[in-house]
Assembly symmetry: C2
Homo-oligomer: 336 residues x 2
């Protein structure tokens, strides 16, 4: 039962925004799974800011995707054929399946998802995935906010940012979110319980931060970089902390200057630490236990932004860089 696959392969490294011509749409027949292998039909493809990093060949935390290779991406799928114990046809699995319809390969690259949780499948691409772990460890391990401290999170209506703010509230911090539309601001404030929200597209971020952080900023969960990072640095307190999770405003421009207020890291004795969720893989259970509990208690809400059709991935991924998504952006490749 070989399958007809379609895949987006990296054709050339993007210059600035990702163009469709940077990827090539290919059709190929995949073989049956060999001993120890499974065939996975991809249902959801995760689109993430880091996709842009992987397409480039800058020095980065994983090898860049090679030219001619299937574009890397996180996927949820269903086992269609199995040649190994522990993976049954019909099992839901999670893994780095890439920008394609099927994977045939070693089963141990895939994790079987728990059954009968009552949770929608997409939860395993949000809260209960590397997304949730990113928010959890970046905030709690690096920023470590104390009750009453002020936490600022940007890209606050994004998949990670929206969880960061909610976890900070669970930890009794004061939370200010920065997002890119009035709708997003309304959502994080009215529905997610952020104390304040700033629309960076229509408001003066520095002035609003001054107003909303009268005691200064103790923790920043940084997803964006650029001017927003400078504005935050300007108002950070002595001995404050920055969890550096992303710099999405700079991914399309390698010549972007660094933060002008870098000197405040010295003046205010700030601790900045970059991290990648995979650094915390050994502690995954710790995060999943808390995140699962908080979800069951109704303390963590999330939004998914599901777009149809693998063929649209190269256009849709750019929505991340202009904030045109609300919540976790993913492509639905096939039916659940």
């Amino acid at each position: 039962m070989s399958v007809e696959n379609n895949a987006w392969k990296l054709a050339t490294r993007p210059d600035g925004d990702i163009k469709q011509s940077d990827l090539e749409w290919v059709a190929e027949t995949l073989p049956d799974p060999a001993e120890g292998e499974i065939c996975v039909r991809h249902v959801y493809l995760s689109l993430d800011p880091t996709n842009r990093i992987w397409m480039s060949d800058i020095d980065q935390y994983m090898p860049p995707v090679a030219i001619g290779e299937v574009m890397r991406g996180g996927t949820l799928g269903v086992v269609e054929a199995s040649n190994v114990n522990g993976y049954a046809v019909g099992d839901m699995v999670s893994g780095m399946g890439g920008w394609q319809k099927y994977t045939v390969g070693p089963a141990n690259a895939w994790q079987v998802l728990p059954k009968d949780t009552g949770l929608p499948m997409t939860a395993f691409m949000g809260c209960l995935s590397f997304i949730g772990m990113t928010a959890y460890f970046g905030l709690l391990d690096i920023c470590d906010p104390k009750p009453g401290e002020t936490v600022v999170v940007n890209a606050a209506a994004g998949a990670v940012g929206s969880l960061v703010g909610q976890i900070a509230k669970i930890k009794d911090a004061r939370v200010v979110g920065i997002a890119g539309s009035d709708d997003k601001c309304k959502w994080i404030k009215d529905e997610l319980g952020f104390d304040e929200a700033i629309n960076y597209k229509t408001e003066n971020v520095l002035e609003m931060l001054k107003q909303y952080c009268p005691d200064g900023i103790d923790c920043v969960f940084e997803n964006v970089g650029g001017q927003i990072l400078d504005d935050q640095l300007t108002l950070m307190n002595n001995f404050s902390r920055i969890a550096l999770c992303g710099l999405i405003s700079t991914y399309n421009d390698l010549d972007a200057p660094g933060p002008k207020m870098f000197r405040n890291i010295l003046m205010k004795r700030i601790m900045v630490k970059g991290f990648i969720v995979s650094d915390y893989m050994a502690r995954a259970q710790e995060a999943m236990a808390d995140l699962g509990k908080w979800m069951m208690e109704g303390k963590l809400q999330y939004r998914v932004d599901v777009r149809p059709g693998l063929e649209n991935a190269p256009q849709v991924v750019n929505d991340l860089f202009v904030g045109a998504n609300t919540g976790k952006l993913m492509i639905q490749i096939s039916d659940e």
Copy 2:
């Protein structure tokens, strides 16, 4: 026994380099010490890169020096008159006496130096002062180099940098120093035991770092900022650490851009921490015990660069920003 004092008072905030006209030379008669006060004759005035920060009104770790106020500075002096127990005439004392010949004021702002140590008085403005503590805590508390790791220190022939490299060698790290002349490079390599030295004025820093750090950089003790910081960031390893002690290349230019390779803090999961030696005051004894022991064992060498005459301070301080000093720069105000 009132004294005739001369002082440099801040007249205006410098724009770029410090000009003599930014300070005003004043003469005034000081009163006798009141109850609880002493009169200190200043012998040595410490000149430090941070002087430039104090003259500006940027957001900083101490209040800026006010216009019309005596310029702030660390001093060693001799008690000339005392109106308080515990401070005897002739005692050597250390404190923030400022850019002036005498201080009359509260004794508790001054620390009596140990007697009969066999050490020159200037040692208490070098190794056994906030200079030594800066090197000690920045390197050991923030960078925490492991044996065999590679430490890069810039301004490496400076008062702090030269100690950082020697302490890193005591801890069995590999040490590469960056300094501004062949003489300085020769000194840190041949006399202080640095493994390698780079003359940033004549050599390509990035290329030499690549050559001298074949296993990448694990720790940076940052005094300089600017292009040198970018070059280091380019070669830093995963989970490496930066002790951010100073950014001397940027103090005269508030519009200096931040490090372009800031993104590597994310990609390489680097930890950057700014610090000021006063943050570690509670642990001063810990540093002094080790530094004193290492000095006695001949493991720590230092150089002082003593210039005569308080009236020259406004010109001499600029030598720090062009690297025209070798070792701890100080002004001799009066005889020991």
